[in-house]
């Protein structure tokens, strides 16, 4: 068995909804059936084989070659298996994913890992705004799982995030951890303005001190035992966070305008 590979034939002018192409949906389908699946593209439906060259047969291991920013909803709702994307992805990468693994070698657009419930999403590149947040109007963002971003993330990382772990090796934009409900976000680079805006609970781990607004309050320097446990659980992850072993932090709590039980921990 070799990985089921979809190679994009030509540059796209219209966006494509890739949500049917998950390991769960394709399991036990023949090559002909897979080729005949229709993907929504604007107001048209296009057959998979009109867009992609298809090779391989292992539906649990899907590879997308020549990926680009117009491929939306890759791995949406997936419950098992693995999707590897080379070249980039559009919006809603791994939307409401429950289990399994997505590896993207390239950049993703907005709403990557939105409402993620489980599994792992690893982006070897940058992501757009609203990483791991909620569908507009919904009140809970990411609810579980793990997101690793080796590049930078846009604004509103973890907006209304409820549970799970986000590890960003680069920088994050403005309103990082805004309206966060719980969970853990780590950012190795810098963060933009209004970090932790409306943060209710949860942990934001930073490596340098950002500009903090007045409803985030200093709680002093501490050696927190849970950090040792947390970094031990990160060992073996494909991230620079796997090599961190520190537990001395400055603890800021907030956002006091919104309950104030969240924390921003900054390594001394």
């Amino acid at each position: 068995m070799s990985a089921l590979t979809f190679t994009l034939k030509a540059q796209l002018t219209q966006r494509i909804d890739m949500s049917p192409l998950t390991p769960d949906n394709l399991a036990r389908k023949t090559a002909a059936e897979i080729a005949a699946i229709e993907l929504q593209s604007g107001n048209r439906k296009l057959r998979v084989d009109s867009l992609f060259d298809i090779s391989g047969n292992d539906t649990a291991d899907i590879v997308i070659q020549n990926g680009c920013g117009k491929l939306d909803y890759i791995g949406s709702g997936m419950k098992s298996g693995r999707i590897t994307v080379h070249g980039g992805a559009g919006s809603w990468l791994g939307f409401q994913m429950r289990k399994g693994e997505i590896v993207l070698n390239g950049d993703a657009d907005a709403y990557a890992a939105a409402e993620l419930a489980g599994g792992t999403i690893c982006v070897n590149g940058n992501v757009g705004d609203f990483l791991a947040s909620a569908l507009p109007g919904n009140r809970k963002g990411m609810k579980g799982g793990l997101v690793i971003v080796t590049g930078n993330a846009g604004d509103r990382v973890g907006d209304q995030m409820r549970r799970g772990i986000i590890l960003i090796e680069g920088n994050a934009g403005a309103y990082c951890a805004s309206r966060m409900l719980a969970g853990t976000i780590g950012v190795m680079g810098t963060v933009g303005d209004y970090v932790g805006f409306g943060m209710r609970r949860g942990t934001l781990l930073l490596f340098s001190t950002p500009k903090l607004h007045s409803t985030i309050q200093d709680c002093g320097s501490h050696s927190l035992p849970f950090l040792g446990l947390m970094f031990k659980s990160f060992r073996g992850l494909p991230s620079k966070f796997a090599g961190v072993d520190k537990n001395r932090v400055r603890r800021y709590a907030g956002d006091l305008a919104n309950d104030g039980k969240g924390e921003i921990l900054i390594f001394a």
Binding site: P225, K232, E263
Partner: protein, 302 residues
């Protein structure tokens, strides 16, 4: 059967099905982990009045503990799951939560056919009065409770399994110091066996009991058949040269663990031998009708 001049009685120890759990206590150093564990396992010699039988299983080095600090593993046994859960919670609350720098983790996660998750820090978190923080790593939930020395960290649950309690053997010697020396040697050897504890003070009990009493209000009383000062006036089990008898009681996570510990303990006692005054090894039972587990001494030592 005679080992090094010591007679092994053709009898058996009678043990009962119990519920058992393990908790891993860590602290800044072994000193404080031991202080916490000693407090937690205090007044836990017998289920009759203490609710649980508990003891320190062994010391853990930093590489063996979840948070990479020095630790101690504690075993607790009770006759029923409700008592065990209640005792675990109160002892966690009064002995571990209160002890500086400690943290508590689950000690049983796999390796048994039936593991029930019971509360470890699940209710202790409310001590945090709303400032407690939950964290999930590697599929486990932990609680961070702000306390005056910093933060108390505890796993939410630990595992409870079906266990065995009341394994035992008796050491019969020519004098009290000799009986105690044999017990000390036996306990030292048995401490090396995993999954067992000897819950009595120093692992040794000198007041072995029989079922019933002449007094209506007592369900158990002194085991006069093994009391050396009553040799002449009761239906004694002792030969004239026996002057002192001591018992070692063993609780273990499985009957195989108790078998191993019994063998190690008796072997160590017999090593002192008849020349050091050790004459006989026996065991306590109730005729075999009460307990589900029988540990036949000669079979174990064969």
């Amino acid at each position: 059967m005679i080992i090094n001049g010591v007679t092994i009685d053709d009898t058996f120890a009678e043990a009962f099905g119990m519920r058992g759990t393990r908790v891993i206590i860590t602290a800044q150093n072994h000193k404080w982990a031991n202080i916490a564990a000693t407090a937690m396992t205090g007044f836990a010699t017998s289920v009759i009045a203490c609710g649980v039988e508990a003891g320190i299983e062994r010391q853990l080095n930093p590489a063996e503990t979840p948070d990479g600090r020095p630790g101690v593993s504690v075993l607790m046994f009770a006759m029923g799951s409700a008592v065990l859960m209640k005792q675990l919670e109160t002892r966690m609350g009064q002995c571990i939560l209160t002890c500086p720098t400690t943290a508590a983790f689950s000690g049983i996660d796999e390796g048994y056919p039936e593991i029930t998750r019971i509360n470890l820090g699940k209710n202790l978190r409310f001590f945090g009065d709303g400032f407690q923080i939950s964290k999930q790593f590697g599929g486990k939930r932990y609680w961070r409770v702000p306390v005056m020395d910093g933060e108390f960290m505890t796993e939410e649950t630990t595992g409870m399994v079906r266990a065995v309690g009341g394994g035992n053997f008796l050491i019969l010697a020519e004098s009290q110091p000799q009986a105690l020396a044999a017990c000390e040697a036996a306990i030292e050897a048995m401490k090396q066996i995993p999954n067992v504890i000897m819950p009595f003070p120093g692992g040794v009990v000198r007041s072995g009991s029989k079922v019933g009493s002449k007094y209506k209000s007592l369900i158990a009383s002194t085991n006069d058949a093994f009391c050396p000062t009553l040799k002449g006036i009761t239906k004694t089990d002792l030969s004239p040269e026996i002057e002192s008898v001591m018992e070692i009681v063993i609780d273990g996570l499985s009957d195989a663990d108790i078998r191993k510990a019994t063998r190690a303990g008796i072997a160590a006692a017999c090593e002192l031998g008849a020349t050091k005054g050790i004459k006989r090894i026996s065991a306590g039972n109730y005729g075999g009708k009460l307990g589900q587990f029988h540990f036949k001494l000669r079979e174990i030592m064969a």
